[in-house]
Amino acid sequence: MKTNTPAILTGTHTLSGNEACIEGAFAAGCRFLAAYPIMPALETIDRYLQRSSEVDATFIQMEDEISALAAVIGASWTGKKSMTITSGPGLSNMMEHLGLSVMLETPCVIIDVQRAGPSIGIPNRPGQGDVMQARWGSHGDYELIVLSPSSPQEMFDFTIKAFNFSEKYRSPVLIMADEYVAHQKGEVKIQPANKIKIEPRKYFKGEKDKYLPFKRDKNFVPRMVDIGENYKFHVTGLTHDDRGYPVMTEKCQEYNVHPLLWKILNDRDEIAEFKESNTDDAEIVIISYGASSNTAQKAMKQARELGIKVGSLKLDTVWPFPDKKITELAEKVKTLIVPEINYGQIVLEVERCSYGQANVVFVSHGETEIDNPDNLISIIKQSQKEKQVKKGIIEYRNETRRG
């Protein structure tokens, strides 16, 4: 399946992360956006509106973020690829419907341009404080896919990837960008339409009266139909059987919810993508994602120039977490350094997966350090002094310079 050409601006452009995200969405076939404006994601809606008449896409500004995600889920069932865009406070409001989209197995994409939190925080500064929230923020058990772009180009690529994942696994997919990436201008290469791989929706093709909305295939993914095709299906947020009818038993809960997790976990090695550099001979590996990976790259280069064997692992996919890769690295290297624009979230996962095999050093950094790796370099040097493996997360607190 290929998308229509007018939606895809093949060529090289200078775009901000926010704009690139919208181009990615159009390229992926997104035709419905429901949102509530919020800093620092405002430019996305601007761009979407500018281009919406060219690509015949619909926009509705809802009264709040709760209804925005509800409308997106509804729209997705009409057959349109749908998404919503928000930032931290909005994502918090969406938590209930994140659960609904998991339960209804509705493909949709949520773009979260993170800002400094908690609560209102600092609307115009970047943060990475919503990463754990993305995984755990709604009640009940679920697994979902979270991608974290670090540049406008990735913002474009990952948005397409997000739509593909959401269709493949019939699951909400989150993109955790941040204010820095969203407002950063950069070169974005857009491939011709025939080079962009688009995952088609998994439609049911059998007889109409045989359709069961939650009958799973061998990968635990059920087939979908659109509203208005005379399938007369029923779906519910209650625990349900294959027909989508509520059944309030322990057995049905197991039958319904357990595969929801495994449809993602089964493919976790495929989904969990990362970029590795210089890890072969490394003694220290910086594990980063999103805007922080820009800092990490710079620090790695400078450290190598100083003769320190530093490698880098950039997580493209944050959830599901690449457990195995981290364990593998921990067994090989002395120290894992995790810089994040928060006060310790993914570092907990790194600590978990390192099984006491390597020192885990956490660096809480601010936006000024995205361009300036000095602090990270000094922490690399400090961490070299550790003689043996310490339990727990090491944080060199004298160097807290958030801002």
């Binding site: 938590m95 500064r125 809960q253 197991e254 357990h258």
Partner: protein, 423 residues
């Protein structure tokens, strides 16, 4: 734990609020009694199964004590209103379950940021989404820690009986006042709807933590200037302190830093919010330990599961397996250190939870590869089969290899539903 505020003042419950006596009541009702005994003066709530009985019990007894239950239009309003009430100088809480809890997420961040002391009682049910409203679950545990955006820390405690729902309401209010942060009582449908003996002690036996009220000169008051333990002192709205309290990142005066000049203005708000809990964790954490002296396997559990686990432990002990019990009374902040100590000593942890793995990952994290970690999952809408826990203990005791991942057991239920289990 003795409840003393920083001045060493002690406070007893008001006899008017305490319905002293011995009752046979369900956990939800006990929670309502507990909240009133703790001095709660305002509940903004919204009905949701299976937590409504708590609101109903409070609504019946509150007006005679000058307290009020207001049914708000939704959970968003409930939690926002209790924060307002908290700053007006009274103790407040709200009552909810999974879906309502999800709606409260934004405001929990606001509560952390405004450092308003308040309590949220979450009677967990089967999820995700609407799930199984009338049956139990423990799948909101991670949500209670991570559900709102940005960095913050909360305190979460998990009762395992109606008596504890009463006691823990008091404990929760005391913790909230002491640390000025949202405190979650993470109960579940099973405990909430379980009827047992509940003893409501006389008022003089209930110690309450008074609010950390600022008493110095008015002009010198800074609403977010922390004490030694990183918790600031509070005043009431309407007392002429000219308060400026903001949900935006703020300085000690409460003024948002976004509009202040200078880009390098350090944002220390969130740092202190997390530190005030992390650095006080030792004082907050409460654990119940049984038979850990000689234990080779430790069952880590909380809430209703800790009672189900007892049966599994008994059966295992009968078979001669040295198994102990660690019950997390305080789930957040997580007892990193204690788990770490135990990991160095024992062979394995067995973690039964009514979810597909949440707190188990923190157990895994803190065991640093020194002990195996075995998860006994349960999807909700019921509790574990003790046999499953027994088998997990047996397995954990015999497994010789160190396995570097969470070992997820296939339960009887899973085998029954999926014919041998999911692949």
């Amino acid at each position: 734990m003795a409840f003393r505020n920083s001045e060493g003042l002690k406070m007893k419950a008001n006899p008017r609020d305490v319905r002293t006596g011995t009752y046979y009541m369900d956990g939800d009702i006990a929670a309502g009694y507990g909240a009133l005994a703790a001095g709660c003066r305002f509940i903004g709530g919204y009905p949701i199964t299976p937590s409504t009985e708590a609101a109903e019990s409070f609504a019946r007894i509150a007006p005679q004590s000058g307290a009020v239950f207001v049914q708000m239009e939704d959970e968003l309003a409930s939690v926002a209103s209790i924060m307002g009430a908290s700053w007006s100088g009274v103790k407040t809480m709200t009552i909810t379950s999974g879906p309502g809890y999800s709606l409260m997420m934004e405001a929990i961040g606001l509560g952390a940021m405004m450092e308003a002391p308040f309590v949220i009682l979450n009677i967990q049910r089967g999820g995700p989404s609407t799930g199984v409203p009338t049956k139990t679950g423990q799948a909101d545990m991670m949500q209670s820690r991570w559900g709102s955006h940005g960095d913050y820390e909360v305190i979460a405690i998990s009762p395992d009986s109606p008596q504890e729902l009463f006691d823990f309401m008091i404990k929760a209010f005391n913790l909230a006042e002491k640390y000025r942060c949202p405190v979650m009582v993470m109960s579940d449908e099973c405990v909430g709807h379980m009827s047992e003996k509940v003893v409501v002690p006389p008022a003089e036996e209930i110690e309450l933590e008074p609010r950390r009220i600022y008493t110095g000169p008015k002009e010198e008051y800074l609403p977010f200037k922390p004490d030694q333990d990183l918790v600031p002192k509070m005043v009431k709205a309407g007392d002429g302190y000219n308060l400026y309290v903001s949900g935006a990142s703020h300085d000690e005066r409460g003024y948002p830093i976004i509009y202040q000049k200078g880009k390098n203005q350090s944002d220390s708000t969130a740092r202190r919010l997390v530190d005030k809990i992390r650095l006080n964790a030792d004082k907050i954490i409460e654990l119940h330990e049984e038979k850990l002296d000689d234990a080779e396997v430790v069952v880590v559990s909380y809430g209703i599961t800790s009672r189900v686990a007892v049966r599994g432990i008994e059966l295992a002990r009968k078979k001669g397996i040295k198994v102990g019990k660690l019950r997390l009374v305080t789930v957040w902040p997580f007892p990193d250190q204690r788990i770490s100590e135990l990991a160095a000593k024992v062979k394995a942890f067995v973690v039964p939870e009514i979810n597909y793995g949440q707190v188990v990952y923190d157990v895994e994290r803190c065991s640093h590869g020194e002990a195996n970690v075995v998860l006994v999952p349960h999807g909700g809408a019921g509790v574990h089969d003790p046999e499953d826990i027994l088998e997990a203990i047996e397995y954990a005791a015999t497994e010789k290899k160190k396995i570097r991942k969470v070992i997820i057991r296939k339960t009887r239920l899973e085998k029954k539903v999926f014919g041998g289990g999911l692949k």
